[in-house]
Amino acid sequence: MNDSSREAFIIVGKLVLLATVAAAVLALVYVPTQMQIELNREQARVEALEDVVPQAYEFEPVEGDPVNDEREVLYYRALDEDGNLIGYAFFGTRMGYAGIIEVAAGIDPELNELIKVKIISQSETPGLGDRIKDDEFLRQFEGLEVDNLELTRDTGEVDAITGATVSSRAVVEALNLKIDEIKETM
C-alpha cells in the first residue's frame, strides 16, 4: 500500500470509529430520555382533555375493536363528580399544509355543539398556518353547532385564516372526521 492510500485509509478509519462511538453514546441516552418524553406526552394529553371539557371531573376512555390485540382509544366520556355524562372529548388528526395537525376537542353529550378546541401539535408555516393555534381562530369553535362546522366558503361558519385556508380546513376536517366516527360507534 502506498503512502497516500494508507493515509486515506487512516482518515476514513478514524472518522468511522468516532462516528460509531458517537452513535453508541446517543443510543445510550436515547432509551431513558425517550421513555420520559413519552410520559410527558401522555401528561400533555391528559391536560388537553381537561382543557377542552373544563367542567369534567374524570374521563373514561372508550376503546374501539381490538386490532392486533391492541385497543385504540376512540374517544373519552367526560363525567362530572356524580358520574353523569356531560360530554365527550377526543383527539383528531388530519394532514395540514406542512404536516400532520393534531387537535383535541370537547363536545356536548348530544354531539351537537362543540365546547372547546385545542391544537395539540402542528408544523404549519410560522406566521401563516401556525395561527390555527391562536385564540382568535380557536374561539370560533366554542359553542359552534356541528352542522355549521365547515369553513364559511364551504357553507359553514368557521372563518379561515387569511392565507392559510389549507391549514384552517384541515382543523375543521380533523374534527368532522372524528365526530362522524364517534356517531358511527354509538
Binding site: 493515509e7 446517543l26 441516552v29
Partner: protein, 203 residues
C-alpha cells in the same frame, strides 16, 4: 497563563458576544425572557465544555484535513444529547427554545473555540476556556433576557419566582425581535464606551 485568568478572559476580554461577536443568532432570538436566556446559555455551555474536553484530548489524533468534520461530529453528538435530555426533563423550556437547541451545532462560538483553542491547548486549559466563554455567554444572555423581559412584561419571573416587578406600562416591542437588536445595541455601546475609556487611560 494560569487557569483562573483563562477563565476570566472568556468572561471579559474574549466575551463571546461583546468581544468576539459570536453566537449572535441565539443571543437575539431566544432572549425573550431571562429564563430562556439562561436555559439557552446553559445548554450551549454544556456543549462547549464537553466539545472542548473531547477535542483537546483527541488533538494529537485528529488529522488536519478532516478536523472540521470531526469537530462537527463531536459537537452534534453533544447537542443531540442535551436536546433529548431537555425534551425529557424540561419540556417547557425545550418548547420555548424550539429550533435553537439543534442549531447549537452551528453556533460559531463552539466550533470557534474548538478550532482556535481546544485543538491547540491542554485539556485543563480547555476546560477553563469552555467554562469562561460559557459563563460570559450566560451573563450576556441573562442580562439581555432580563432587560427585555422587564421592559416587555413589567416583571422578571425566574423558575417560578418573581424577582422584580416594575409598575411601568409594558411595551410588547421589547419582547419582539426589534427589542433584541435595540437591547444588544445599547449594551454593546456601553461596553465599547467603557473599553475606549480604559484605552484612553492607557489601560
Amino acid at each position: 497563563m494560569n487557569l483562573w485568568s483563562e477563565f476570566l478572559r472568556g468572561v471579559t476580554k474574549d466575551n463571546p458576544v461583546f468581544a468576539l461577536l459570536l453566537g449572535l443568532c441565539p443571543t437575539l432570538a431566544v432572549t425573550t425572557s431571562m429564563e430562556n436566556g439562561i436555559g439557552m446559555a446553559a445548554a450551549s455551555m454544556f456543549v462547549l465544555l464537553c466539545a472542548n474536553i473531547i477535542i483537546s484530548s483527541l488533538k494529537h489524533h485528529i488529522p488536519p484535513t478532516i478536523r472540521v468534520p470531526i469537530f462537527i461530529l463531536v459537537i452534534a453528538t453533544f447537542v443531540s444529547i442535551i436536546g433529548m435530555v431537555m425534551e425529557a426533563f424540561t419540556p417547557a423550556l425545550h418548547t420555548a427554545l424550539g429550533v435553537f437547541v439543534p442549531l447549537i451545532v452551528v453556533n460559531c462560538m463552539i466550533i470557534g473555540r474548538a478550532e482556535a483553542y481546544a485543538s491547540k491547548n491542554p485539556v485543563s486549559f480547555s476546560v477553563a476556556d469552555g467554562l469562561g466563554i460559557g459563563t460570559g455567554f450566560l451573563l450576556v444572555l441573562a442580562a439581555i433576557g432580563g432587560i427585555r423581559e422587564l421592559f416587555g412584561t413589567g416583571e422578571i419571573v425566574l423558575f417560578g419566582l418573581t424577582l422584580i416587578q416594575m409598575p411601568i406600562e409594558a411595551s410588547t416591542f421589547m419582547i419582539m425581535p426589534p427589542g433584541a437588536f435595540f437591547t444588544i445595541a445599547v449594551l454593546m455601546a456601553l461596553v465599547n464606551y467603557r473599553r475606549a475609556k480604559l484605552l484612553e487611560r492607557g489601560g
